[in-house]
């Protein structure tokens, strides 16, 4: 009897003595709740990245550029000058030292990336324009377009990789040679599994300034694991790619590659 009372009393006293801890525990629990809530909620509040748009456009490798630039392009910019020599590249060097890469790009024309939405229609005529990007699929006002184009639209009728139709949604990337090198490098590593010709996958990756790749993944599966993996491997083995051209002003270049 008295034992039971003692028990109760003891519990009470213990509870009383513990109150501050209880408070802190409660506070902690609440704050944890808030924290978890915030963590869960915040990403949703952040703007979701814009969906990739696939705009089939013709890409004309620079090699085939027998055409003038489309009139829509800003004209006559100063030829890029080598950047001013800030830190003189070494006083008395036995070896010349290349300048360290600069963040600033004074050589760049202050050009606005005119983001006109490209026509969502595949074109079949050749010679969209000089720049793989930059040129939205408007008929080339020059009339010179397609001078070297083949019937497939490929200016490289006899090129190593046959016709290349590509979708660009980047009006800023105007370097035909780069696209050529990129495709040719991946091409050299592409071992197609023996599957039907219809099979294709879309691989996406990002090229960093130094030419290394990140975010390599299958954007659209072919439905065949072996094909997807072979495509990923081709890109992986082909990298690193050339460093991004100096005049390209972004830190990286996202690429969606249709592999078939």
């Amino acid at each position: 009897m008295s034992a039971a009372v003692d028990h109760v009393l003891e519990r009470r006293s213990r509870r009383a003595g513990r109150r501050p801890e209880a408070i802190s525990l409660t506070a902690a629990a609440l704050l944890h709740g808030v924290a978890v809530g915030l963590i869960l909620l915040l990403p949703r509040l952040a703007p979701s990245p814009p969906a990739l748009s696939f705009v089939p456009v013709q890409i004309i490798p620079a090699q085939a550029l027998g055409v003038r630039r489309p009139a829509s392009r800003p004209k006559a910019r100063k030829p890029p000058e080598p950047e001013p020599e800030k830190a003189a590249p070494q006083p008395e060097p036995e070896e010349p030292v290349p300048e360290p890469p600069r963040k600033d790009v004074p050589v760049l024309p202050p050009e606005k990336p005119e983001k006109k939405p490209p026509e969502p229609k595949p074109r079949t005529e050749a010679g969209t324009g000089t720049n793989p990007a930059g040129t939205s699929p408007q008929p080339n006002p020059d009339g010179e377009a397609g001078r070297r184009g083949g019937p497939t639209g490929s200016p490289l009728g006899s090129s190593a990789f046959g016709s290349q139709i590509a979708g660009l949604d980047n009006p800023d990337f105007k370097f035909g040679y780069y696209i050529d090198q990129l495709l040719s490098a991946i091409d050299a590593k592409w071992l197609r599994p023996p599957l039907s010709d219809e099979v294709q996958a879309i691989i996406s990756f990002r090229i960093e300034r130094d030419g290394s790749i990140t975010d390599l993944e299958v954007a659209q599966s072919s439905g065949y694991n072996s094909f997807d993996l072979a495509a990923l491997r081709a890109v992986q083995n082909a990298s690193p790619f050339p460093p991004l051209p100096r005049a390209y002003r972004h830190d990286s270049l996202g690429v969606n590659l249709i592999v078939r």
């Binding site: 030829p79 010349p96 972004h250 969606n256």
Partner: protein, 452 residues
């Protein structure tokens, strides 16, 4: 007690708040550079083919033509070296001043883009050379001819004497930007030559320029092997009696023995980490493969056969050593793990295969193979054992070594009379002789190009 608990509570609250804030921090600035959301390019990859050459317009540099004396000489050498480096690389189809002179150029680059393109060029290389006192200043630029925009722009400055090195540096930079590959214009080839009457070790630029003597033992010194970093050579020399392995530091010129005991030590090959050297060694007449630390310690035997085992070549990834053994009767190439285990035969064709050299990616081994009575350069794929013979005809073609980019092979040939060093593409094409003085052989191409 109680105040302390309260304090604890407050503290823990603050801590949690801090945690929450910290957790909040990264996501907040994460999506910010969104205004410049890097754009995406969609490309289509169709199917196989081989690398196409980049069409490069290379008009005369501005400057060298108007410069006199040493400056003019340095400027012209710089221009010629850049052009030659790019040409030798095999990546480009170059249109020089001779071709471009047919174009109607205004001199204003942006106005001339179409003219340059009209003959098929994709990119344009412009060079500008001038002097500042006793210095040469070189600005090199590459423009994309489609957009007229800069692919790269570099400026170099230094004494006249470094003009070739400036040119090599710039050429490799052009190659890196246009192809993504590492150029070899700054690589070197070590070899032995008897041009002074004694066989000594020499080093030259990859194109044969600037040949300089490294040893002066007035004896027989041969089979140089580059350290992985390119700062030192190991080699064999007889100057102290029985042949020993020696180490030469190129910067200081200092030399020291690695292993010189026993009756014979030859054919050194560095491990890829540079810490050990594999070589052929004999104590009693039977030659076996041994390992030693680069300082000569840790001597260890790897092979143990009654036959001759010699000419080790450490694989670029470090796991394997290729070597020559006559254990099957005739000399053939074998592979073993770097610990000496798992010894297996690599070549089966012909009756004589010797002098293995690895490709930089470790896929191929090149070697000297006797075919129909003549020595030829052969290449075997280590994975598939597929073999190709790259040279033909008389001339004793031997002792191959791969360029650091794996696209070329240097080797010794007697086709012009004396032993000379030649360079060819991996398919046997583009053969060029790069030595002329005395007999030159046993070349070793530096493995890496000094980092920029």
């Amino acid at each position: 007690m109680r105040p302390r608990n309260v304090a604890l509570t407050v503290l823990s609250c603050l801590l949690l708040l801090a945690l929450v804030l910290a957790a909040q921090q990264p996501p907040a600035p994460a999506p910010p550079p969104d205004e410049q959301q890097p754009p995406q390019v969609t490309l289509e990859l169709n199917r196989g083919g081989q690398a196409r050459k980049i069409k490069l317009a290379f008009p005369a540099f501005r400057g060298p033509g108007q410069m006199a004396g040493d400056a003019g000489k340095a400027g012209r050498e710089l221009e010629e070296t850049v052009r030659r480096d790019l040409d030798l690389s095999g990546y480009f189809e170059i249109q020089g001043p001779d071709v471009l002179s047919g174009l109607a150029l205004t001199g204003d680059v942006q106005q001339d883009l179409a003219a340059y393109r009209s003959t098929g060029n994709e990119v344009l290389l412009l060079g500008d050379v001038r002097t500042e006192g006793d210095r040469i200043v070189f600005e090199g630029r590459v423009l994309d001819l489609g957009s007229g925009q800069a692919v790269l722009a570099k400026r170099y400055k230094g004494p006249f004497t470094v003009s070739r090195r400036m040119a090599h540096t710039f050429a490799d930079e052009v190659i890196r930007f246009l192809t993504g590959k590492v150029g070899i214009a700054l690589s070197s080839i070590a070899f032995s030559s008897d041009r002074t009457g004694n066989k000594e070790i020499y080093v030259m630029d990859y194109d044969g320029a600037d040949q300089r003597r490294i040893t002066g033992h007035r004896s027989t010194s041969m089979s140089p092997a580059w350290s992985p970093g390119g700062g030192a050579l190991a080699y064999t020399s007889f100057f102290n009696g029985p042949p020993g392995i020696y180490f030469a530091d190129l910067a200081s010129g200092k030399k020291r023995p690695v292993v010189a005991s026993g009756s014979l030590n030859t054919s050194p090959s560095f491990s890829p980490d540079g810490r050990r050297i594999a070589f052929a060694r004999s104590l009693d007449g039977n030659i076996e493969i041994f390992l030693a630390d680069a300082d000569g310690g840790g001597l260890r035997r790897l092979t143990n056969s009654n036959a001759i085992d010699t000419n080790p070549a450490w694989s670029p990834k470090g796991g394997e050593i290729a070597f020559t053994s006559s254990r099957a009767g005739n000399p053939h190439l074998y592979l073993m793990d770097a610990e000496g285990a798992n010894q297996r035969r690599l070549t089966f064709d012909g009756a004589y295969n010797d002098g293995a050299a690895w490709s930089p990616d470790g896929d191929l081994v090149a070697y000297t193979s006797r075919r129909e009575g003549a020595f030829q350069i052969a290449v075997t794929n280590v994975g598939t054992l597929e073999t190709a013979v790259l040279t033909s005809g008389p001339g004793e073609n031997e002792s191959p070594t791969f360029s650091p980019d794996g696209r070329k092979i240097a080797f010794t040939s007697r086709r012009s009379g004396r032993k000379q060093i030649y360079v060819m593409d991996l398919d046997g094409g583009n053969l060029r002789q790069i030595t002329t003085e005395g007999n030159n052989d046993l070349a070793d191409w530096s493995r890496s190009v000094p980092e920029k």
